[in-house]
Each structure stands twice: as C-alpha cells, then as structure tokens.
C-alpha cells in the first residue's frame, strides 16, 4: 500500500505487517513451567492473606500458588475457577497493581509483589489447553432463568446457575458472546482469540443456551422475560457513550473510542485498519488509554491523551499510564475540548477547585486527524419500571433490583468498580441468591 506513519489523514497499513503483529503480541507472556515454579516459590502462604481480601472474587490465592509449587497447575486452576469462572480472562486483564498484587505483603516488603496474575494465567491456561472442564451440573431443577447480556457478569451468573442445575437462556444483542472481553479489552491483553475460546470452554458445563441478536428493549421485553422465566438477571453493561459537548463533534474523524476498539478487536487483518497520523483521545480512564496505545501500535505518528483533570484523578492506573508513556503516548492533563476543526482540535486549560472543573480561558490547538471520545459509558435503554441509582440499575444485597424476580450485576448495576473481575463476582453472587430464592 505504501503508507507510513507520516501518511496524512486517516490511513491503514502505517506499519509493516510484522511490526503490527509484534506490537499486538501478549503484553505479559505466559510463564514457562520453571518460571512459574520460581514465581510461585516467592509466595509466603500468608495467614488470612491480604491478597485474597483484595481480590473481588476472593480466590484462595496462597492455596492455588502452593498447588502450582507442588506441580499441580490443574488443581490450582480448579481452586481459581471455584471462585471465578473467568479466571483465565481476569488473569490477563485485572489491574492487579491495584487489586491482589497491591495488597501482597511482598509489595509492602520490597515493592515487588508475587506475580499473582501471571501465576493465575499459568494455572488456568493449563486447563484451557487440556480442554477439560472441572465442573459438573447438579441434577436438573426444572427452573428456567433468563440472563440478558453475555458479558463477564452474565456468563459468570449463567455458569453458576447451570452448575446448580437450572436451565439458562442468555439473550445477547450482539452476534458474538463475551461482552467487552470480546469487543472492548485491549487486543494485547487477550491474544489468540482467547475470549471466544474461554466462552466455549465455559459453556461445556451444559444447560446454557445463548440466543444471539436479541436486544432487550427492541426484540424482547423485561415483562416478557419475567413471565416466561423463574428469574431474570440483567447484565447489559454500559452500551451508551457520553457526548463531548464540543463544537465539531459530528465531524468525520471524531468517533467513540469503544467503537474503534470493537472494530479493532474484530478486525481479521490489523494492517487494513485505518488510523490517524495525529490522534487525540479525550478522557482519562482505561478506555482512553487503550484507544491511545492501540492507535500508536497501529502506527499513528503522534497520539495524545487529553484529560480534563490532574494526573492524580485519572481513572487509569499508574501501570496503565506508564504503559502508555512507554508506547509513546503523550499524556496531557487539565485540558478539555472546545472545538474540533479541520485536522486540529482546540482544547482549553482547566483548573479544578473543590472537585469542579472550570476553564481558564487559555487554549491550545493540537493536530488531530482523528479524535476518540472516551469520556465514559452509560446505561443505554434501561428497562422501564426499574429503579435507577446514579444512572445505573439500583441493586441491594446480591444484585436484587426493585423488580421482584429480577437481579442485575456488572457494569449496568450500581456500586462496585467497572471491572471484569467485579462483574464476575457480581454475576456469581447473584446466581447464588437466585438459587436460594428459587429453592425457597
């Protein structure tokens, strides 16, 4: 094609195919067995281990690491899956630096935690590679549960319910399962079609059918689900995207970061995926960082993340920020978009007083062939009659909504961090609560 990093505008194939392939390779390569043994040996087998408390799914970390140490990674994987059926994906995408590994006593001791995430991957990969499924269904209960959305929350809930003997139908708007595991997570965190393979593996439990192309609100209704099932679990994530509120937002070249990422995740050939020479990402969370990094990896010459508050308020962890910096992304703070012009974006400096952002009046223009909006997702089309809280479905206890027989979890539900692992925990806990209420 002859394009390069300097090709003006938005263009595909800015880097040679081998460079792009290398760029999108595994961020944290899998351990070889000896590496795993050495890494596992660093664990102190803490009493009432702080890492377990810090894991949203409460995996028995010292136990699984000890099982790796004694040469039984499959047993370690079972320990992980007991608590977190998507332990394979979580091992890849969890911001461990703010979860288990931050709490690890060796982080306290020497600033070098036990690499829990990579050990978790080592264990779960062993089982995935063997293709075996360590759980069996209980005797059928005859109860039918509807799960809406096949993301981490929905899949976790469905698996637990199926394991307990219930029949589960998952209604999914998209043509493929996995939710953001499939469409959102950065490509270099889940290489080799892992998201899809994990769902196939999870479905080996049996008793789960997925109905694709079924959107709650258009193809199906909550009332309909409630009347045809014994319980309903809503796990629709946050499908809506917040608007910038800047002039020129509708210009060509301005788009939602999540759409760009979804396109990237589904692309069969990344050299055919166009990206701007100069890219500006508006936002400060994981989505902004992922869009920026992946733009660079595709070959954008300059990529800037512009965030309206200071660095300390950024949603992306310091690990993610460092990763971005390392990949050549420029992070700029206290800047908010004013207008998108031809090939440029105009930003205004801000100051934050008592949590409120105000413009200083001073502006700056950055070259921008492409602008990605990553200023947050929101709940899109909440079912009527269900109570909301802070724009999300209000839940109490293990995901109970205001509607009897309806539970919710994951990003669409109130409370909790918007993380894969939190979604898994909420799905699992709702399943246990549904099970208890169906039995009662």
């Amino acid at each position: 094609m002859g394009n390069s990093q300097m090709t003006p505008g938005i263009a595909a194939g800015r880097l040679p195919a081998d460079r792009i392939a290398a760029n999108f390779d595994d961020l944290h390569p899998a351990y070889a067995p000896h590496e795993a043994a050495v890494a596992a040996d660093r664990c102190y087998f803490c009493y009432d281990a702080p890492c377990v408390t810090a894991c949203p799914t409460s995996i028995d970390i010292p136990m699984f690491i000890r099982q790796i140490q004694t040469g039984h990674p499959e047993a370690a994987a079972k320990t992980i899956f007991d608590q977190n059926i998507l332990g394979g994906m979580c091992a890849r995408v969890c911001p461990t630096e703010t979860l288990c590994e931050e709490a690890c006593v060796r982080e306290t001791a020497e600033g070098k935690p036990v690499e829990i995430g990579r050990l978790q991957r080592y264990a779960t990969d062993t089982v995935m590679a063997a293709g075996t499924h360590p759980f069996r269904r209980a005797a059928p209960t005859g109860k039918r549960v509807a799960v809406v959305g096949a993301g981490p929350a929905g899949l976790s809930c469905a698996h637990r319910l199926a394991m307990l003997g219930h029949d589960v139908t998952v209604y999914e708007a998209r043509p493929r399962p996995g939710g953001l595991n499939e469409y959102g997570i950065a490509a270099y965190k889940a290489t080799g079609g892992f998201a899809a393979a994990e769902v196939d593996w999870l479905l080996q439990i049996g008793g789960i059918s997925i109905d694709y192309g079924k959107r709650l609100g258009s193809d199906i209704t909550l009332d309909g689900l409630v009347s045809s099932h014994d319980a309903v679990f809503l796990s629709v994530g946050l499908a809506g995207v917040n608007a910038l509120g800047a002039d020129g937002e509708d210009r060509e070249g301005v788009r939602d970061a999540v759409d760009f990422i979804a396109e990237l995740r589904q692309a069969s050939d990344l050299t055919a995926l166009p990206v701007g020479r100069n890219v500006v990402v508006i936002g400060g969370g994981m989505t902004a960082i992922d869009a920026a990094v992946q733009s660079r990896l595709l070959g954008a010459e300059s990529v800037t993340v512009a965030y309206r508050r200071g660095q300390e308020s950024m949603g992306a962890s310091s690990f993610e920020q460092d990763l971005a910096a390392q990949k050549g992304v420029r992070l700029m703070f206290n800047l908010r978009p004013v207008a998108v012009h031809e090939g440029e974006i105009e930003l205004e400096y801000t100051r934050v007083a008592e949590g409120r952002v105000t413009g200083t009046g001073e502006t700056i223009r950055l070259p921008a062939d492409q602008v990605f909006k990553a200023i947050g997702q929101k709940l899109d089309g909440a079912p009527e009659g269900i109570a909301l809280e802070g724009g999300k479905i209000a839940v109490t206890g293990a995901g109970r909504t205001s509607v009897k027989g309806v539970w919710a979890g994951g990003d669409c539900a109130s409370g909790g961090d918007d993380l894969t692992v939190t979604a898994v925990a909420e799905g699992r806990d709702a399943a246990m609560d549904i099970h208890a209420s169906l039995a009662g």
Binding site: H34, V38, Y44, C46, Y47, D48, P50, V105, T108, A109
Partner: protein, 434 residues
C-alpha cells in the same frame, strides 16, 4: 587482606580450602586446574588395590534435592572409588606434586582390611611424594558390601587396627576419614586416635535415598528400574557434620586431635563455622561439583574480609573458638528468659508468625484489627518458631528479660544467677543428690 596460610599436620597451604576426595580430584587434569583456580590442597580420589580397577554403574550415579529455582541443596551418589588403574593415579600424583610443591596432595586409600594389602600399597603411595594419606572408612555404598569403607568405619576396632598398620608402614601424616552412618561419632574417632591417627576428617556421605519416581516406583537415581541407597552430601548435610565435628572436638578422649571438616562447605561462612568448631581446615566436594572450581575465590576473599573485620591475622586466631560454647543441654542456663518482640515498622503483616504460634505452638501471638501482630508475653515461651518463619530478617527478635523483672508467663522474678537442670528442683537426680 588477612593471610590465609594454614598449617595442618605440618602441611602448609596458602589457604585452608582443600578439595575432598571425590570426582573433582580424580585425575591430574582436574587437580592441576583446581590448583590454578586457587585451592590450597586436594585429597586425591580414593585409590584401591593394584590390579583390575573397580567398575562403576553405566547409568545415572547421582540423585539430587533441589530448593527453589533448582538450587542444589543435596546430592546423593552411588559412585565407587577411582575406576582408573592404581599406576596411573600414582604417576599423576607424583607429577602434580612436583609442579605444585606449595599445595597439599593427600592420597585417599581404601584396600581390604588385611595387613598385607596395606603393607603393599603404602610404600608405593609414599614414593609419589604426596604429603600424607587419608583412610577412606566412610564410603557407604558398593565398597562397604565388600568389607571396606563404611564397613570398617562402623567398627571402631577395625579402625584402630588399620590405623596402626598405616602408622607402622607409612611415615607421613595419616588422616582417618569417618562415616556419619553410625550412632555415636566419638567411638570411631577415639579408635582412630588410639591407633595413632594424626587427624580425623569428617564427614563422608550420609546413607540416603533422595527421591522415588512415582511413575516407575524406582528410587532415584534409577538404574534400569532399580535404585540403591547412595551417599548424601552438600549443604543439606552441614548441620549433621558440624555436630559430629563438635562432638569430637569437645570429647576429653580426643581433645586436641586435629580435624579436617567436611560436609556441605559451600561458602567462606561455612568454612569459618567449621573451623570455629575446631577444624584445622575444610574439605569441599559438592560445592565444587555444583559450581566449578572458581568458587574457591569467593571463599578466599570472604574469609579474609571477615578476618580483617574481626581483627584476626591468622586462621589459628579463630580455629576452635566456638568449642567451649558447645555444651550439654543440662548445663544451659534455665534462668535465661527471653520474649519474642515484633518490630511493627519492619512487619509486612503476612501472619506467618501467627499461624505458626496459634496452630502449632503456644498461642502467644495476637492478631489485632488491621493485621497488627503482637506477642503476648504471658504465653510466649521464647521457642523462636516465629523468628524462624518470619520472612523479614530481624523483624522478630528474642529479647532477654532483665534480671529483677517478673516473667508474666510464670509469675516468677527473673534471677541474675546461672542455674541449670542439674540443680533444678524438678530433676529427680538433683533431688537424690540432696
């Protein structure tokens, strides 16, 4: 840098680090390279009788115990004495000794327990010009079944008898190498002493099975599906060796008998510990087999540095310094009372001390809100388990109580006086003496 020159049995070598009789010393090529690397002396791989040499197995002869990251903690072997002709070995010894007059070469010997056999070999060994001999009464496998090695070393009368023959037919120093595969090491040491030995060296390898293959159910190393016990050596055996050394060093019957310390010596520190327990020098095998000859350079620099730091100018300044502090349990001061103390700033809150004490000891550690771990002095018996399992060095210390204070565990005032079990009221023997 402190001078490490050490004289043992009148043999002066530039440092106290000798290679033990084993594969590293099995031929001229090895020994020359060892001397070039800096080793002070070698005990040549054990020589057998003239005639057809012994035969080794043709499958694996070593087994291993690994620590984390495959660190070699212990090796076990089923190798025999040298499997090269006696003549070849003797010629090589003579050649190397001529070229390295400042290094020690000791010939290790194992021949049948008959006077004629010893009488035959000793003059030939003497002709090589080597500095002395070591009698291998220790090898626990292969040769012992033929009435040699450990089979002799386990019978004090034989040791004494053979030692006497050697002193009769050989003019230079005779070292008797002892097997640890015996209940009380003092008996063979006394026998060697009685027989006129100039020194004892210990330990040889410990009879062992390192592992069992759980697929084939064969002990390792496995020869065609079968294994036999081997001799264990390396860091894992050091505590056993040091105790045996100390027993001999403080036994009135052998006090003053020179000792060459062997068993797990890997670093300068190990050497210093053995020597402080009374060894005139040390011998090394497994560490060299694991890392090669160059490790001696660390041993040399490390020992010199430590001596400089302590102000010792000769190895004789510290040899034997720990011997007077090795005593019997009954003489330990029962009025010495200590309590564990946790340094809260150093603590990383792993809870291992708590798990250990709560589950297996004296329930003397509190786990308070916020993962704060504190010692309850009213229960602490100062067993040291928490110190041992704490992953942070010096985080938990054993703090002696000051005389006059009341021990909250016993309610008794800590006495200034030394008092041991021999005078303790609970000791029936002590009461009987009254």
């Amino acid at each position: 840098m402190a001078d490490l020159t050490t004289t043992f049995l009148g043999i002066t070598t530039p440092n106290p680090f000798w290679l033990a009789s084993a594969p590293p010393t099995d031929k001229e090529y090895n020994v020359r390279r060892a001397f070039e690397a800096g080793w002070g002396g070698v005990v040549w791989k054990t020589l057998g009788e003239a005639g057809p040499p012994v035969v080794n197995v043709n499958g694996p002869r070593y087994g291993v115990i690994h620590g984390a990251d495959r660190r070699v903690l212990g090796i076990n072997n089923i190798e025999l004495i040298t499997d090269r002709p006696l003549e070849t070995n003797l010629e090589e010894i003579a050649r190397v000794k001529k070229d390295y007059p400042d290094r020690a070469i000791i010939a290790s010997i194992m021949v049948p327990c008959e006077e004629a056999s010893w009488k035959a070999i000793l003059p030939r060994v003497a002709e090589t010009g080597c500095d002395g001999i070591e009698l291998n009464f220790g090898c626990p496998h292969g040769m012992s079944e033929r009435g040699m090695g450990a089979a002799v070393g386990q019978v004090p009368e034989y040791i004494e008898m053979v030692t006497r023959w050697c002193k009769e037919y050989y003019g230079k120093p005779v070292i008797v190498k002892l097997t640890p595969n015996i209940t009380d090491i003092r008996y063979p040491a006394r026998a060697a002493h009685k027989g006129g030995a100039d020194a004892v060296s210990l330990i040889n390898t410990v009879s062992s099975i390192t592992s069992v293959n759980l697929d084939t159910f064969s002990p390792e190393p496995s020869i065609d599906g079968k294994g036999s016990h081997g001799g264990y050596c390396g860091p894992a055996v050091k505590p056993i060796a040091m105790n045996m050394v100390a027993e001999i060093a403080r036994d009135p019957a052998t006090r003053g008998l020179p000792i060459s310390g062997i068993g797990g010596v890997t670093t300068w520190r190990d050497a210093a510990e053995f020597m402080s327990l009374g060894c005139g020098n040390v011998q090394v095998c497994t560490a060299a087999m694991t890392y090669g000859f160059r490790i001696v350079q660390e041993m040399i620099s490390g020992l010199s540095q430590w001596m400089d730091e302590k102000g010792y100018t000769a190895t004789s300044d510290f040899i034997g310094r720990a011997v007077p502090n090795v005593t019997d349990w009954q003489y330990l001061n029962l009025n010495y009372v200590a309590k564990a103390k946790i340094d809260q700033d150093a603590c990383i809150k792993c809870g291992r001390c708590y798990a250990a004490c709560e589950d297996t000891s004296h329930q003397a550690i509190w786990m308070k809100p916020g993962r704060v771990f504190e010692v309850n002095d009213a229960e602490c018996v100062a067993c040291n388990l928490c110190v041992d399992v704490c992953p942070v060095e010096n985080c938990i210390s054993m703090v002696p109580m000051t005389p006059g204070e009341t021990d909250p565990r016993t309610g008794r005032v800590v006495s200034r006086d030394y008092a041991n079990w021999t005078t303790h009221p609970n000791n029936p023997a002590a009461r009987a003496a009254e």
